[in-house]
Symmetry: C2
């Protein structure tokens, strides 16, 4: 199995692509830039959705659904937004096909041209704020705390499975508030929620912060983001939360009467995470044997493989294995018993390693005699033999340990690959030879930011939002700076 | 509240539309034919999704995701399918917009024309079978039992919220099998699953059967369906399960090596239910006061409304009400406590009647003194006062009773509106004046079926699949018939 994978150290990008395909997560489709998410990959995404959805609902949000199509003119209403989103997109111009007159297939019917073209949503601020206009009259109608699970399309030229695809799945929250303070608070609540999810469920440590002007969302006042370090030393933006001020309310004329009877524009936020998180999950934890899934999101947490010769051995092992499976499931664990007779144990071991199943149990005839079972961890690739009666107790604790270990390993990697840098020579040397996060002083100008990007391909991933300040000099311009920001090359 | 609703008996279509909007289920969007599903409507759809998804998984199905876009040429591969689906659809022809040279907004960039147009999926057989081609080589790769939750688009000219919209949400199952028998069996498993869901969860009795040639799915060998009777005497097709034979396997050249080493085309099925079910839910149970939701799908099963004057009364009622809420929730019930001080109890009562909440509890100061609570049922609009200590026990049983009662009421309505008809005069009279299901003999020809449709707007809803036969004469042509079929006017 693992022989089919390119080694990480040989070609990280190829290792990633191989792994996504070999582990049955996703593949490219016949449609340029669009992927097929395969059942195993989709099962992980369903866990992501289900856990995030619980967190959204626990913080007062509800789900709704808005149209796939956005009239072209809606984009033009918010000046920054149109520049950022309305360019590379899928445009519907016709609503009918007809048979060709030569009998060879079908063609677009020129009589069925739309009066106004429809854009497949690249993000839904415009259609949603056009709708909110009718929902909001008074402060009593606020806040609106809505999330949508949907597909969106951005016509990307260079695509990579999960990381950058023309169509992708995501959730997009769109909230409306009576005050600036409440909207800012919402933005931060969601940023914390995202950080909690990525750290506790995905097992990946993140940095939280705000984006520079050049990196923020088209139409936002402030963009906050979480950034995670992948094992090739590049950063991945794992979620964003935008404070939109009154921009979209003004663009769509959404005003409300406040408690004092005064007419005001509504304040808003939007925020999202996407199937890109699947890419982060692969790249943060995977190794040359395959995926390493955190137990909190693994569709199969424990796989049981029987080691046997002949049907009578299998029967006796199966009755024990199925009892263990049932006991583990009663404790809420997700277990698979793989008694396929078409594949040998060694093949199965490699397959579940490739697929990142956190724990593998193996039972052979000698185990049945001795009352033992072999427990193998995917994260450390270690094995131990335990008393079979202690399986349930042992495994509940083990899954918790694995979840923690995966996070700690990832955190240690990040700590080892985060550098404080104070000179431009060190900066260039560090980004080129070591990668990782660079903490450096920056003079706060877009000009310097762009020069650094052009010379090194490193961008400002986040500006820390804590209040720590440290006087220093910009690593590029030498001008004064009050704070270090985080640079990295990024996905 | 209910004053805003048109009465069912005055104008059923208007009553339906009013109710969908006033009960906050959905509304029309700025995009022609596309709806916004509002949070309350979406919460019901989420329950539908969650329960159906459990049933799919319990029968061995897994979820996956395929592209939104289908290359135009894919449709032309299956002759019937292209006629049925590739005509009224949304066509993507370009992938970029640009700023207009006059500075007035944006326009389609003529340089960004796609080589081949992309169709927004109206159903996904073609893109999925094009993918399955790469997944299937041997009988060991079969069966494939995949479901997809997705949005689809069919460019309908006349649209109605939930019942017929350009974009709608649905699930579509697409399975691949080694034998005809297994595929036919799958089709029936799903038909039974749909019937079970609609009857046990939605509380709506259904007829199961197959469709006539003219009503079947474009590309299918056989289409099976469930049909439900709405309160205006019209039938609604609530779910379909198609046996596709080897049609799509042949169109996309999907062959496999069977156990004997022979190359064969794969057998397939597809099946789906959509947000149309939401329309059925409204029309089957609603009344002039609003929705009547079955407890199994109600987002709020029980609402508690305090009756009070002044804050000190409210405090004492709230502590009791919150205790009851918490006790009910421990038993897995979905409960809301509505202590808004902006609305009077009468307003709240009408609002929850409009929204179809199955049970309303009211507690006033006298109840606190007496240790009682008022229980009101939405389905029967009856009230009783019970001992407050018995609330939890009483309500668990009551919700079960309500679920049964809603179903039985609907079944009784259907029984009363199902007619055996043996003459053409009776047929016309019955369909015109009474509506409902008509059980009549039919000679089995498409010609007769079409004449009946043209003269009465009644279509064959299902041909029963049970083995009961009854010799008779076609109600229209007088030719011999072995079985009655079910006619109705339909949505």
């Amino acid at each position: 199995m693992a022989d089919f994978l390119t080694k990480m150290e040989d070609n990280y990008a190829q290792w990633y692509n191989d792994l996504v395909i070999k582990a049955d997560l996703a593949e490219n489709s016949a449609v340029r830039g669009c992927m097929v998410i395969k059942p195993y990959g989709y099962a992980i995404w369903e866990k992501v959705q289900s856990e995030l959805d619980k967190l959204f609902k626990a913080t007062g949000h509800v789900n709704a659904y808005f149209p796939l199509f956005i009239p072209k003119s809606f984009f033009a209403r918010e000046a920054d937004h149109v520049e950022g989103f309305a360019k590379e997109c899928a445009v519907v111009t016709h609503y009918r096909l007809r048979n060709r007159s030569d009998g060879k297939g079908i063609e677009v019917d020129p009589d069925a041209k739309l009066e106004e073209e429809l854009i497949i949503r690249p993000t839904s601020e415009t259609i949603i704020w056009n709708t909110y206009k009718n929902w909001i009259q008074s402060y009593r109608d606020l806040p609106i705390l809505i999330n949508q699970w949907a597909n969106v399309v951005r016509w990307e030229m260079r695509t990579r499975l999960f990381l950058r695809t023309a169509e992708f799945l995501w959730q997009e929250g769109h909230t409306a508030h009576a005050t600036r303070e409440e909207a800012v608070e919402e933005t931060k609540t969601i940023l914390d929620l995202y950080a909690h999810f990525v750290q506790e469920y995905m097992g990946i440590p993140v940095l939280k912060g705000s984006k520079s002007e050049s990196e923020k969302f088209a139409g936002a006042i402030d963009t906050f983001a979480i950034e995670a370090l992948m094992q090739d030393g590049k950063s991945l933006q794992a979620g964003t939360s935008h404070f939109l001020g009154q921009n979209f309310a003004k663009a769509f004329d959404v005003q409300f009467t406040d408690k004092s009877g005064k007419l005001e524009y509504v304040w808003s936020t939007s925020w999202g995470v996407s199937t890109r998180l699947m890419g982060a999950l692969v790249m943060a934890h995977g190794d040359n044997n395959g995926l390493v899934l955190p137990p909190n999101l693994a569709p199969i947490q424990i796989v049981i493989v029987p080691i046997y010769k002949g049907n009578s051995q299998l029967d006796s092992i199966s009755s024990t294995a199925l009892k263990i499976k049932s006991d583990l499931e009663k404790h809420g664990l997700r277990v698979k018993y793989d008694d396929r007779d078409t594949h040998k144990p060694g093949f199965k071991f490699a397959e579940y390693e490739l697929k990142g199943v956190p724990v593998r149990l193996a039972i052979g005839p000698r185990d049945i005699e001795n009352g033992t079972i072999e427990v193998a961890r995917r994260d450390t690739m270690t094995k131990e033999v335990i008393n079979i009666d202690k399986t349930v107790k042992h495994l509940s604790g083990l899954l918790t340990d694995i979840q923690k270990n995966i996070f700690n390993k990832s955190l240690k990697y990040r700590d080892l690959n985060t550098y404080k840098v104070d000179t431009w020579d060190d900066f260039r040397e560090s980004i080129e030879n070591k990668g990782g996060f660079i903490l450096a002083h920056w003079d706060g100008t877009a000009e310097t930011e762009e020069k650094i990007k052009n010379e090194t391909r490193a961008t400002i991933r986040i500006i820390p939002i804590d209040n720590s300040s440290e006087a220093g000099k910009c690593v590029y311009s030498g001008k004064p700076s009050q704070k270090r920001v985080v640079f990295a090359r990024a996905y």
